[in-house]
C-alpha cells in the first residue's frame, strides 16, 4: 500500500488496442495491486537485508497514512479541477481556508460541523477560482497564485477577528474537538501476531497493513474512500464523462450540448471542497494542530505534485501521496538510518530496472540505471549517516528519484490551462 505508482505507459495500452487482440489489458485496480505487491517486496527485502525493520512496521504505515492524508485530499482536489481543464495551483490557498473553517466549525459545532465548514470554505476558494478562470477567462496560474495570497490573507484576517478573543492568540484557534479513532481490533490483533512472527515478507506486509487498520479516523477512511469514489464518478458516470470532456476538448463538448461552464464550476467547487478537507485533516485529527497560521506549509503544492505524479489518475495520485507520506513518516520516526536503508532499497529497484532494460535491449537506460544503482550503493556503503540537514527532505528526494526512474509518459488532459469561451471554437 505504500508505493502504488501507476507508471504503465498509457500509450502502450493504446497501441495494443489498435490491432484488437482477445487479451484485455490489465485493469487499473489490478495494476495498482501489482505495484503495491512489488513495493512491499522491495521494502521487505530491504528491511531483511539491512536489518532495519521500521521500514515495514505498523507504526510507519500508520504515520504514513496520517502524513499522506492532507496530501491525498489536495491531490484529489487537483484531480477534479484539472480533469475539467482548470489548473489549480490555488490548492494551497483553499487548504488554508479549509483549516480556518475546520477550526471554526469544530469549535462551535463539533468535528463534523468542522469538516463541513472546511469543505464550504475550501469550496468558496474553488468558486472564486471558477469565477476568475471560467467566467473571466483569467490565466489559471495567475488566479491560483492570487487565491493562495487571498486564502492566506483572509484566514489570517478571520483568525484575528474570530479566534483572537477566544484563544488570546491571533495565529491560533482555541483547542477544538478532534475525530475519534477506530481500530479493527480483531484484524489488528491477528496482524500483530503475524508481524511478530518475523517471517520475511508476510510479517512485513502484515506490519504495513496493521498500521492501516489501527487508530484510523473517519476522516482517513473518508479520504481513502474518496479515491475509488472519484474514479467511479469521473469515469463511470455521465456527469464524470462530461466533466472530463471539458478538460479534453471543451469545444467538442460544447458542440454536443454539454454546458462546459456548469461542469467547470462544479469541478472547481468539488476541488475546493476536497482541498478544504485536506485543511481539515490538519486540524481535526488528534495529534494535529487546531488552526495554526501557516500550518499547511506548502502541502497544497505537494498535493499538486502527487497528482501529476499519479498521471492525473486517482490510483496514481494515491500512490504519489502514499509515497510521500511513507517516506516522510519513515524519516520523522526512524531518522537517518532508515533513510539510508531506503537508499539500499533504491539500489535494489535500480538493479531490477537495469535487468529489465537489458532484456528489452535499451542499452542507454540500462546503463544509466546501473550507474545510478552504483552511485547510490556507494552512498549506502560509504556513509553511516547522511547529512542530518537533508534527512527531513527525504520525501522530496524520493519523489524525484521515483519519477526519474519510472519514466512514465504523463498524459495531462489536453485542454488543461486553456481559456475557453462559448462559441469561440472552430
Amino acid at each position: 500500500m505504500s508505493t502504488t505508482v501507476e507508471t504503465g505507459p498509457p500509450s502502450k495500452a493504446g497501441a495494443t488496442e489498435q490491432q484488437p487482440r482477445p487479451r484485455r489489458p490489465i485493469p487499473g485496480w489490478l495494476r495498482g495491486v501489482l505495484w503495491a505487491v512489488a513495493a512491499i517486496a522491495v521494502l521487505s527485502t530491504t528491511s531483511y537485508l539491512t536489518g532495519i525493520d521500521t521500514l515495514t512496521s505498523s507504526n510507519t504505515s500508520q504515520t504514513a497514512l496520517r502524513l499522506a492524508l492532507p496530501i491525498l485530499f489536495a491531490a484529489l482536489g487537483g484531480l477534479w479541477a484539472e480533469r475539467a481543464g482548470v489548473i489549480n495551483i490555488g490548492l494551497e490557498g483553499m487548504m488554508i481556508l479549509g483549516t480556518w473553517g475546520a477550526a471554526w466549525g469544530a469549535y462551535y459545532g463539533g468535528v463534523w460541523a468542522g469538516l463541513l465548514a472546511a469543505i464550504v470554505f475550501g469550496a468558496l476558494g474553488g468558486l472564486l477560482h471558477a469565477v476568475a478562470t471560467v467566467t473571466f477567462g483569467v490565466n489559471h496560474i495567475v488566479s491560483g497564485v492570487a487565491i493562495n495570497l487571498l486564502g492566506l490573507g483572509v484566514a489570517k484576517y478571520l483568525a484575528d477577528l474570530v479566534f483572537e478573543p477566544l484563544s488570546g492568540n491571533p495565529r491560533q484557534s482555541p483547542p477544538v474537538p478532534k475525530f475519534d479513532t477506530y481500530s479493527a481490533t480483531f484484524l489488528s490483533d491477528w496482524l500483530a501476531d503475524l508481524e511478530e512472527a518475523q517471517r520475511v515478507g508476510i510479517s512485513d506486509a502484515a506490519g504495513l497493513l496493521r498500521g492501516l487498520v489501527t487508530q484510523v479516523s473517519p476522516l482517513a477512511m473518508l479520504g481513502l474512500l474518496l479515491v475509488p469514489l472519484s474514479y467511479l464518478v469521473l469515469w463511470r458516470t455521465r456527469f464524470g464523462l462530461r466533466l472530463r470532456s471539458c478538460g479534453e476538448n471543451p469545444v467538442a463538448a460544447e458542440s454536443l450540448g454539454v454546458n462546459v461552464y456548469v461542469h467547470k464550476y462544479a469541478a472547481l467547487l468539488v476541488s475546493g471542497g476536497l482541498a478544504g478537507m485536506g485543511g481539515a485533516s490538519l486540524v481535526l485529527l488528534s495529534g494535529g494542530a487546531d488552526y495554526l497560521e501557516n500550518q499547511t506549509n506548502g502541502r497544497g503544492y505537494i498535493g499538486l505534485a502527487a497528482m501529476i505524479f499519479g498521471n492525473w489518475r486517482p490510483g496514481g495520485l494515491l500512490g504519489g501521496a502514499a509515497l510521500f507520506g511513507y517516506s516522510d513518516g519513515l524519516q520523522l520516526s526512524a531518522g537517518g538510518e532508515a533513510v539510508l536503508a531506503l537508499c539500499y532499497g533504491a539500489v535494489l529497484l535500480l538493479a531490477v530496472l537495469t535487468v529489465v532494460q537489458l532484456v528489452r535491449r535499451r542499452w542507454l537506460v540500462a546503463g544509466l540505471s546501473a550507474l545510478g544503482a552504483a552511485a547510490l550503493y556507494y552512498v549506502y556503503w560509504a556513509n553511516d549517516e547522511l547529512p542530518r540537514e537533508l534527512i527531513p527532505y527525504t520525501p522530496h528526494f524520493v519523489t524525484i528519484i521515483v519519477l526519474a526512474v519510472a519514466a512514465q509518459k504523463l498524459r495531462p488532459p489536453k485542454a488543461i490551462g486553456k481559456r475557453y469561451r462559448r462559441g469561440e471554437g472552430d
Binding site: V142, A146, L150, V154, D160, H396, T399
Partner: protein, 364 residues
Amino acid sequence: MISWRTALLPPVLAIVVAMALSSVALLISGADPLEAFTTMGAQLFEGTTAVDTVNLAVVYYFAGLAVAVGFQMNLFNIGVEGQYRFAAVIAAIVGAAMELPPVLHVLAILAVAMLSGAAYALLPAILKVTRGVSEVITTIMLNSIVFGIVAYLISADQFGVLRGNNISTAEIPETGWIPGIPLGAAGTMFGSVLIAVALGVGYWFLLNRTRFGFELQASGESPTAATAGGVSAKRMTMTAMLLSGAVAGLIAMPELLGRDHVYAMTATQGYGFTGIAVALLGRNHPVGVAFGALLWAFLDKSAVSLETIGVPREIATIIQGTIVLSVVVAYEIVKRAELAAEQRRVGRQTRNGMPASVSQGGAV
C-alpha cells in the same frame, strides 16, 4: 497592438477594486479605511521608505524577470524560489573565500550566483527533456530540498559562522560589495538598481530582437510549429530553464552585496513566489514587471506602517491578492469592451458603405 486604454485602465481599475474590497474588510474589523490608506500613502514620504521600496522592488524585479523568462515559453518555473536561495548561499560562500580586486570580485560573485542558479535549474531541465518529468513537480520538490542544502552549507561544521544566536556564511570582503547610491536622508539605494535596469533592457532586446528570443516565444506560442520551423523544443526548454535559473541567481544579490554581505539562516525567503505574482502583474513585459515589482514592494512596505496605527497587516496581503486577481479580470473586461466597440464600428461601416470588401479586410 496595445492602446493606452488597454494598458493603463485595467491596473487602475484593479487598484480601485482592491481598495474597495479591502475597505470592506477594514470596516468590518473596525478600522477607518481612509486613515489606513493615507497612512500607507504618506509613509512613502517618511524616512527611507521610498528608497527601501525601490530597493525591495529591485529584488522583486529580478524575481519577476526570472519567472517571466520561463513564462515566455509556457514553462512554469515555480522553482525560482529554490534556485535563488541555492545561488545566494553558494555565492556568499564563494564570495567570502575569494580575494579579488573590487569590480572583478563583484563580477565573479555575480557569475557564480548565475551559474549556481542555473545549476539548480539543471536537474528539472534534464529530467523534463530526457524523461518527460513535469518541471512543476521537480521544482516544487527542489524548493523544499534547498532548505536542507542551505542548512547543511551554513552549519558550523561546514561554512557557517556563529554570530550571536544566528548562523551565517563568512562575511564577503569589501571588494565584493556593490556600493550603494547615497541619497542623503532618504537612504541609500542599492547599486544593483543599475543592474536591474540593464537586465530589463537586455531582456527586452533578447526577446524582441534576437533569434533566441524569437525561438523562445515561438516555442511558447506553438511548440509544434516551432519544431517545424527548426526550433528544437528540447533545447529551448533547456535554455529557458537555465536562463530562468541564472536570472533567479541574481535575486539575492542586491541584498547580499549591497547590504548584508553574509547569507544568514534568517535570510528572507519567498522572493521566488513573489516573482510569480510580479511577472503575472507585469504580463512578462520588462516595463510591466518593473511596475509590478514597485507596486508589490510598496504594499509590502505599507504593511509595516499599518501596524503602527493598529490596523491588521493581513490587509496588505488581502490587497495584494485582490490586486492580482482584479488586474487580470480588468484586463479581460477592457479587452472585451474594446472588442465590442470594434464590432460596432465594423457594423457601422458595413451599413454605410458597401458590404465588407476585400480590400478593407472584410469577409474574404
